[in-house]
């Protein structure tokens, strides 16, 4: 059921984020006719720190400065989630985390082909965001959003088979990790390795749906590193200008491989970028599943009402390296400690136990349940065969027998206008 559009609250705080407490960020342009923009900030804490390259003796390394002593805030109550939904999200997050642990073990046993990518510390973002999607909406996951693939209906065994390059993987061995999708049932667009490219594609999905009479939500992600690319700009701007229902989660996990966020952009918060596109910008705590869900829910509702894109900046940290080979020793230890205390699963578990929505026994049972499911998926994936070499051939082109292409939602309504096949006006053209 569509919720009434929430009015953007009036800005309260000044532009500083050292303090505790809520309040939206108001941005001013000094010495000019006053323009005021509001970025909605749902966080219960607003840490301020900087990561800089400094020389320490013979070495150049990263140093973090800022206040990292604040206590971990509680989970923000959700406006929309009930107990059942919270427990489901919690389960997805557990499945996400434990699946990645299983993948790591498989890697260490030499069963994985290539590398493994982890979303450790980002499970709330992946799972709670995708949880807000409806059946007809679409998802475009990035490499660390494997949890979103689970929420959307893929199984842990699908992802494991991808990593192990098995014949039964969703891409039949032809691509790795999260590079798979489903245009028929689960509405997932497969990512490619270059960053930002999903953004115009998801915008196009919304465009296609609109031409069929539907306003849907299309959700995708981009990192603090990935958002530096030109195609990010082009895609988001296109969605904004066309009022397409793009829900973009900018996952600011502070590291783009080995490059800290402070070396990717000059703005204080990536949500400020929304101003440049003319769309609402929202900041949430990326380790708080309730904040993630609420922002996703509101953005999806806007999208389904045809009100256009929303940029949601989720702040968190990538808790492992870029990929399994990367020990990420370049990350300053105080930062790791700060974010380790904010583990999204530990926080949510504490929240659920505190609300008595989960008893310790139920929690144990849930965890055991998830582990059992993963065990079965793992065994299945390990036992499944590698592809035959010849299976590399074929499928480069779609011939008339492999796919029947027709509009997914409805045959587009064609307007019949009176103008005929007139001869074009003989106006001047660029080059004769």
């Amino acid at each position: 059921m569509a919720k009434k559009k929430k009015n953007v609250p009036k800005a309260q705080g000044r532009h500083n984020s050292n303090g505790q407490g809520r309040g939206d960020t108001q941005l001013h342009i000094p010495n000019s006719p006053q323009r005021t923009y509001t970025i909605v900030d749902h966080r219960l804490e607003k840490p301020s720190f900087t990561i800089r390259q400094i020389r320490k003796g013979d070495e150049v390394c990263y140093e973090v400065t800022g206040d990292l002593t604040a206590p971990v805030p509680p989970i923000h109550e959700s406006k929309y989630l009930d107990k059942k939904q919270c427990l489901e999200i919690y389960r997805w997050m557990l499945l996400n985390r434990k699946m990645e642990t299983a993948l790591e073990n498989l890697y260490k046993q030499g069963k994985v082909v290539g590398g493994v990518y982890f979303g450790l510390g980002q499970e709330a973002c992946s799972c709670a965001s995708a949880y807000a999607l409806h059946k007809d909406d679409w998802l475009g996951p990035m490499i660390r959003n494997q949890g979103s693939l689970l929420v959307r209906g893929f199984s842990a065994r699908d992802i494991m088979m991808q990593y192990m390059a098995k014949a039964g993987s969703p891409t039949k061995g032809r691509d790795a990790s999260s590079h798979f999708g489903d245009i028929e049932r689960r509405n997932v667009v497969a990512p490619i390795s270059t960053l930002g490219d999903l953004i115009p594609v998801l915008a196009g999905v919304a465009l296609g749906a609109r031409l069929q009479g539907r306003d849907i939500a299309v959700m995708t992600y981009i990192g603090d590193g990935g958002q530096s690319t030109g195609v990010t700009y082009e895609g988001l701007n296109f969605a904004a200008v066309q009022d397409l229902g793009l829900v973009l989660f900018v996952e600011n996990n502070l590291w783009g491989y080995s490059t800290p966020a402070d070396m990717q952009f000059r703005v204080k918060d990536l949500a400020e970028r929304a101003i440049a596109y003319g769309i609402p910008g929202v900041i949430v705590d990326g380790t708080d599943a309730c904040q993630i869900y609420d922002a996703a829910h509101e953005a999806c509702e806007r999208a389904r009402l045809g009100e256009g894109p929303t940029l949601i900046e989720a702040k968190m940290m990538r808790m492992k390296g870029h990929a399994i080979h990367d020990a990420a020793e370049y990350v300053p230890k105080p930062l790791v400690e700060y974010w380790r205390k904010r583990d999204p699963i530990a926080r949510f578990e504490k929240y659920l136990l505190g609300k008595k929505w989960l008893t310790p026994q139920e929690n144990e049972k849930l965890i055991a349940d998830v582990e059992r499911e993963l065990e079965a998926d793992r065994d299945f994936a390990v036992a499944s065969p590698m592809p035959e070499p010849e299976s590399a051939a074929g499928g480069v082109y779609c011939d008339s027998s492999c796919h029947e292409i027709k509009p997914k939602y409805a045959v587009p309504k064609v307007r019949v206008a009176k103008s005929g096949v007139a001869t074009p006006r003989q106006t001047a053209v660029h080059l004769k």
Partner: protein, 324 residues
Amino acid sequence: MAQLTYLEAIRQGIWEEMERDPSVFCIGEDIGIYGGAFKVTDGFIDRFGPERVVDTPIAESAIVGAAFGASLTGMRPVAEFQFMDFIGCAFNQIVNMVAKAHYRWGAPAPLVIRGPSGGNVHGGPFHSQNPEAWFVHAPGLKVVCPASAHDAKGLIKAAIRDNNPVIFFEHKYLYRRIKEEVPVEDYVVPLGKARVAREGRDVSVITYAAMVHVALEAAEILAKEGTELEVVDLRTISPLDREAIAQTVRKTNKVIVLHEDVRTGGIAGEIAAIINEEAFDDLDGPIVRITAQDSPVPFSPPQEEYFLPKLSDVMREVRRLKAY
């Protein structure tokens, strides 16, 4: 039948497909009220409405990406590039996102990317290129280069109906310079099939786009001196019609490959390799390439004339090869 220019034929082809299939729509820069920089979509927005004729910001990556996204929902977008020279701006989307989609995750991309390419219009380096070879090189794409109004209409229809991504290069020199009889009823020219534009027995010229007309002009002159040139118009350059290529070599035993694209890495090399594979024993002389020189397209008319393959090049090479 109607007398149509090459441009008008393309326009009609797209128009007819939009009438026939509600999933077809156009997307690109200035294609709406302005009707397109070359007026290919003139009148479309009045007829089909702004929903199906989408004017975009200047963002080629977004044009291609959005077209691909729409195709995932079962639409058939026709994406216009104002000049195909700008295709570089969307290169990653085309070769990485679109071309690989069916192979790696089973998602067909039934989109057409079309626009004006080619020189001889004093356009300079960024309005005269022949970028087709870059896309022939990407498995998963189809690349089409019509040379006649009849084929342009039939091929754009076929391209729109094809489930694969088709890059459709319209030679801008031909837009208003050629006019021919084109059937009014619905017809398609199949992708991947060459045509023999002129039959001959002495030397074959395998070519496409504007150079077909240069070859035909040469054929007229050479016929008077008793040399019969066979001109094979490839029409589709990916996938290439290997059989047609082999057949003409078997027939004349002497072959020239002619294209307006630059020499190195142009598809004449690919065609020469195919001839080597399919009809080596039928060759009575080396495979000759006539191409533009390896440089950007120069702007000043006398320089551009020097750059482009000329009628005199064809005459000279035919005579030389015939005497081999």
